[in-house]
Symmetry: C2
Subunit: 322 residues, 2 copies
Amino acid sequence: MSRVLNRKVDVAPETQDRIVETITRLGYTSSLAARSMRSRRKNLIGLVLPDVGFPYSIEIMRGIERAIAESSFDLLLYTTGGIHKVGVMTREQEYVSLLSSSLVDGMVVVATSASEFSSVVPIVAVDPHDVTPGYPAIQATNYEGAIEAMNYLLGLGHRRIGFIQGRPEIGSAQSRLKGYQDALQSAGIPVEDDLVVTGDFSTKSGHTGGLKLLALKNPPTAIFAANDQSAMGVLQAAEESGMMVPEDLSVIGFDNISEAKHLGLTTIDQFLDEMGYQAIHMLIKLINDEPLVEQIYRMPTQLVVRSSCRALVRNAMYLQSF
Amino acid sequence: MSRVLNRKVDVAPETQDRIVETITRLGYTSSLAARSMRSRRKNLIGLVLPDVGFPYSIEIMRGIERAIAESSFDLLLYTTGGIHKVGVMTREQEYVSLLSSSLVDGMVVVATSASEFSSVVPIVAVDPHDVTPGYPAIQATNYEGAIEAMNYLLGLGHRRIGFIQGRPEIGSAQSRLKGYQDALQSAGIPVEDDLVVTGDFSTKSGHTGGLKLLALKNPPTAIFAANDQSAMGVLQAAEESGMMVPEDLSVIGFDNISEAKHLGLTTIDQFLDEMGYQAIHMLIKLINDEPLVEQIYRMPTQLVVRSSCRALVRNAMYLQSF
DNA sequence: GTGAAAGCGCTAACAT
DNA sequence: ATGTTAGCGCTTTCAC
């Protein structure tokens, strides 16, 4: 029977038919556990996500699923339910071992904070916190993108530019800050500590940070937020503090979840999607023992300007239709 | 060693320490496959989703993850990558067998079109297409909700009310249509075929249907769309056909993804979330052999009015902050 | 072309 | 308290 299912060696057509008939009649399906344990190739890819509910994770999952759909692999996602549970960070390696030990052919780990993994099967990381990880990974060009964003604002004539940072312990946030600082330096503008506020990539932190910057004695004429969520918060802050919303205040979000589409740029959702997609392709290459062109695949980040309230209406239309 | 890991029988403290030390040193993790095959209880719940990328699936997953985080179970999601692959519908039973055979303690199946499942472990379905499925399930009060929505519009004085249907083959869409028809009948208003257009829950179908309804010789004064996506399409249609958007046209979306929050109602995202959450709790009861109060858990659906463009801006703010 | 048997990594039951 | 062993359901190998 095993021979029929795995269509390996010669089986008499008559026996074959009889077995197939019985299988369908009984609704039999081979046990994943037993099968995985015995055979090398499982046609299954494992995925470890920090939190399945975040838009961030979702977009990456979209790309992963797209690549999976095109491939012969199925996907097995393992989660314990949110990053809020204690010790999840330390459990990352545990999850990897769990799946890699004998269930999947390869794994994708998203937004991990580990800088090293021990695994029987190949691993590809998407957007790891570590800038120089010890495993194949998909990364964004955070530094270059930040420089680009700053040059845009500098090109508009801005000289006092505020910065809302992302979660400081994460590599991407550090790279973006460094881009901010280096761009200013290149333009011969001193970096003022007052103009840099710490955030955590959330709208709320953008809001708080925005209020802080706008309340300065000598407020910035432009604000560069480390991601779109914070940029949104800055806009809210501007609106609340009674200012006639933007048009008079340049706000840049590093990522943008919707508006960029109208400008013909890659939106962050497409961006994350593509990251997931590339990760699977990279992983499949590794599984098939094909050589990797580059250990770290770097995707160019793009920026988007938020400047008018009209954009919000357009965003609404877009988001709703999605 | 097995005894140490499963902290079952008595082990000498000294031996215990030695083993734990070795385990951590070697980074050993027990094989999920082997373990699952041998023991009854795996502390793992399986999830079969039609498509991990849809907002619909995502919201349900949120609730599921929330419940999982609170429980002692982990979650294993199985997907082949999108409903677009051929034969996925028929493969539903296959996935169920695959996981249920020996990997998980119970399963949640979302938006399934099967009316029967054979499984070794307990199954709970979320929002099955079948209105009277042969398995425990979480359902929405689609019929009652539609009556409620219609009564709202009738209460505003509307007598010619259009209807944008959902995917006709799906039970929930049928129930909503029946609610529309019955409410009209109760009010002594004849059901006009012209006022009912078929859709598929998408914004595009709402758009097309809206244009069709608005182009009627005697157009409706209100439109009831079977879900929020289509309601959004109707709004777009109204705007495009040069009408001063709403205020003068009542559009109701049966589900609402964001606005309802401002009105203090349950939003569809909360609604789906809750469905997923309840499903896990129901399943855990089944796994623990506890009796089920009701085989079908019915969640009250709530409606929301879309009437002004201002709402869009508010939506944008909400969605962005999310 | 088919039957038989070994063994994958575990857990549970039984033996010491 | 610890050592030993029989399988769980498969795939693979080796006989026939």
